[in-house]
Symmetry: C2
Subunit: 152 residues, 2 copies
């Protein structure tokens, strides 16, 4: 019984990001990592992941240190899985004019999926609009691996 592990190309990683909306986001403060599940949407044009969250620990930490990692995986069983890790930087999309087109892009991506829910949010967005932070993760580096059953 053996498993073949393949390294994914950047394009293969982007394909996985493009079809998966559930991810795990890790941020860090004073070298203490923190991790939460998030929903995010990949925008191939800007090579960025868009998401929304209620203000809270992860937003505070990312404002202080924008370095993050995002992990997406599709795990069928022990012999068949794909996992992609992106290193990137948090960018808050404020209500300023400069960020307007990016906020609109974020809302387009969210609306396409009809999935305005997030484990990272304390409340559904419509109940707490004032506390909602729209942000994106600019991807600096992508890596991924795919496991499959070796032919014997």
């Amino acid at each position: 019984m053996s498993i073949t592990i393949q390294v994914l190309s950047g394009d293969e990683c982007r394909t996985v990001l493009g079809r998966t909306s559930l991810a795990r986001l890790a941020c860090a403060k004073d070298n203490q990592p923190y991790i939460v599940p998030i929903l995010c949407y990949f925008d191939a044009e800007g090579d960025a992941l868009y998401s929304v969250a209620a203000a809270g620990r992860k937003i505070e930490w990312m404002r202080a240190n924008p370095k993050v990692a995002v992990e997406v995986s599709e795990i069928t069983d022990r012999y068949h899985w794909v996992t992609v890790v992106a290193f990137g930087r948090f960018e808050e999309l404020t209500e300023s004019v400069a960020d307007d087109h990016l906020r609109r892009r974020a809302h387009e991506l969210f609306d396409q999926r009809h999935e305005w829910w997030l484990p990272g949010m304390q409340k559904p967005a419509p109940d707490a609009p004032a506390q909602t932070v729209v942000y994106r993760i600019r991807i600096d580096e992508l890596s991924g691996r795919r496991a499959s059953r070796a032919r014997e």
Copy 2:
């Protein structure tokens, strides 16, 4: 449509850790977080998660900075999910006499599940015994939340 978010007690968090073996581990180097899926097994007695990995980036990073976060979640749909985050510290279980009982405990936990596979491993363990690192995460702090559909 509204979602009720409940904060889990420490015991409820431990119950979730005890029944789930797939987790995400975040570690950090120079405030850059990294994140990988791992299989780990919760030992309620020692309040620790046991795992095994091939030597590689995450092991190097955790040797340099033992502060980690581990996230476990059970996501049924947007209205029903549980997520638990543990802050903890990496402890490598070496082949020394002092660590012998802990390594045995780790192997007991792994054997109970018959799941010697890990996305975090380059190769199945039997192919690369010399590079395999057995470790545990001592839990310092636990938090968790459960979402459910509000009765209306």
